[in-house]
């Protein structure tokens, strides 16, 4: 279980541009929940994700994971229990490394990296299997550069990378925003399938109202640094996408 307790975040403290994003924010994420987060620009969606991933440390409050204090842990230390897919397909992986090397890096996420060889035929077979599973024909392109793939293909590989290792939470930061509608659907289906199959806890930011309601088990509507609505299963079912917009 991940808990955010009384979190306050202020950007540019002590400067004329001081801007308070969160005041006394509280959130509990139960294991197995798939939460969708929606909200306008500047609502604090990305800040929320960066708080959990450790890229931002709160000014006040604490973050705990299964009752362990992780508030001051840097991102690379938290990587052992969380995985991430970024919005920009170019940013989330290594364009100049091969698919296989990218997967190998993801496989040792949060583990101690030693002098053992990063690639082996055993690993290749494992990676091939995982890529074949997503069914877009990437299993024969292990030694191709990541940069040669299309945005959609890269996001698909990024999803595989994020789920190669068990994690306490999977963070999805508008990971379909840069894709065309067809690829978007494919990636969303894949996301849903991987999360269900592996029984993952996930937090997904989205800009699409219908996605927010259709996917997952719980929806947070954020507005001006507050969780304006926290919608659970039964409540979500009665809502239409257009109802959501009234909340922010």
């Amino acid at each position: 279980m991940i808990e955010l307790n009384n979190i306050s975040v202020t950007f540019g403290k002590g400067t004329p541009l001081e801007c308070s994003v969160f005041k006394q924010l509280n959130l509990k994420i139960q294991p197995g929940e798939f939460i969708t987060v929606i909200g306008g620009n500047g609502a604090g969606k990305s800040t929320l994700m960066n708080l959990i991933s450790g890229e931002i440390t709160p000014d006040k409050g604490s973050i705990t994971l299964d009752h362990t204090q992780v508030t001051r842990w840097p991102a690379e230390k938290r990587a052992q229990f969380l995985s991430r897919v970024f919005q920009d397909p170019l940013l989330g992986s290594y364009a100049d490394l091969t698919i296989e090397e990218n997967l190998s890096l993801a496989l040792s996420r949060g583990k101690k990296r030693g002098l053992k060889t990063a690639l082996s035929s055993q690993l290749s077979a494992h990676f091939k299997e995982r890529l074949a599973d997503i069914g877009i024909g990437l299993e024969n392109r292990l030694s191709d550069k990541m940069g040669l793939l299309s945005g959609g293909q890269r996001q698909a590989v990024s999803l595989v990378m994020a789920t190669l290792q068990p994690s306490k939470i999977l963070l999805l930061d508008e990971h379909t925003a840069a894709l065309d509608p067809k690829m978007e659907n494919l990636i969303l289906e894949l996301t849903k399938r991987l999360i269900t199959e592996k029984n993952l806890t996930a937090l997904m930011i989205t800009h699409c109202m219908s996605q927010a309601l259709r996917m997952g088990t719980r929806t947070l509507v954020m507005h001006q640094g507050k969780i304006a609505r926290d919608l659970l299963e039964n409540e979500r079912n009665t809502l239409e996408p257009k109802d959501l917009i009234a909340f922010f």
Binding site: P74, S108, R113, A118
Partner: protein
């Protein structure tokens, strides 16, 4: 170019191949423009030479020299990682400090090693230095390849390619920068220690232009074969270093051009500038041609 000049260029090329590998590690692998090398090359030579004249075993002296280089790299890395000093400046600071430190180590501007035992002196063959150097360079190249394809080495390369995403894969960027700089400067200091023993002296000013020489060799190597496979990258560094020395030897020895040995740094700088300009010039020219059609 006669055979003596040829063998001399080959030997220098092999000696500086290790510098080239060091520069390749910082400039190409971890993407950190490290200028420490102009100080760590003479540091390696100074440490090795002053230990050898004190009758320390030359192998041990070379090892200590390499450690000194590692330390120099770590200092630059520490300044950059811990105190956020710009990478370029951190390198210059360490390099400048090393000038004084090298003088302290040697106690005088240069040390001659002519009658001292060195790691090259166990064999009396006419080409023994060349053979030993070849073996060392091949061995180091292989070890570096093994390292860069290991889990740790892959993380090191990843940091240079996309530092922003690396923490989310659990890669500590600061630690990787330190590792890269330590390894790079260890190689350069090792090269300096070998240079002092092969040429029989260590000199306070021998570091000038080390970085540019290494960078020129990297660029020459890349122009032969542009490929991102690590093994090819390493091989190109070694070949580039040798070729660079050959080109310089030809240029300096040709009567027609009328260059002197002291023109070396000028030629090297021009070579690097040209290598950086040519791709841009090529673009401009193709654009112009297209417009005219």
């Amino acid at each position: 170019m006669n055979s003596i000049q040829f063998l001399g260029a080959l030997e220098l090329g092999l000696l500086y191949a290790l510098v080239t590998l060091g520069v390749y590690l910082t400039f190409r692998i971890i993407n950190f423009p490290d200028l420490t090398v102009d100080g760590s090359f003479p540091l390696g030579a100074a440490v090795a030479a002053s230990l050898i004249v004190k009758d320390v075993n030359p192998y041990l002296a070379t090892f200590v020299a390499t450690l000194a280089g590692t330390l120099a790299g770590l200092i630059t890395g520490y300044l950059h990682v811990r105190w956020k000093i710009l990478g370029l400046l951190a390198g210059i600071l360490t390099m400048t400090a090393l000038y004084s430190i090298n003088l302290r180590i040697m106690n005088k501007p240069n040390i001659a090693l002519l009658s001292e035992p060195t790691i090259f002196s166990f064999s009396e063959g006419s080409h023994s230095t060349l053979i030993i150097l070849t073996v060392i360079v091949l061995l180091i190249g292989l070890l570096l390849y093994k390292f860069l394809t290991s889990q740790l080495g892959l993380a090191l390369r990843a940091t240079g390619i996309n530092p922003r995403v690396s923490p989310s894969y659990g890669i500590n960027i600061g630690a990787m920068t330190l590792t890269g700089l330590a390894l790079s400067n260890a190689l350069v200091a090792f090269s300096g220690a070998l240079f002092a023993q092969a040429h029989g002296f260590a000199d306070i000013s021998m570091g000038t232009g080390t970085l540019i020489t290494g960078l020129a060799s990297v660029i020459v190597g890349e122009s032969l074969f542009r490929h991102s496979r690590i093994l090819i990258g390493i091989a190109c560094c070694v070949i580039g270093s040798i070729l660079y020395r050959m080109v310089i030897a030809i240029a300096l020895n040709s009567q027609v051009v009328g260059l002197q040995a002291s023109d070396l740094n000028l030629i090297t700088s021009i070579l690097v500038i040209l290598a950086m300009l040519i791709p841009q010039l090529r673009q401009t020219i193709t654009k112009k041609i297209r417009q005219n059609i």
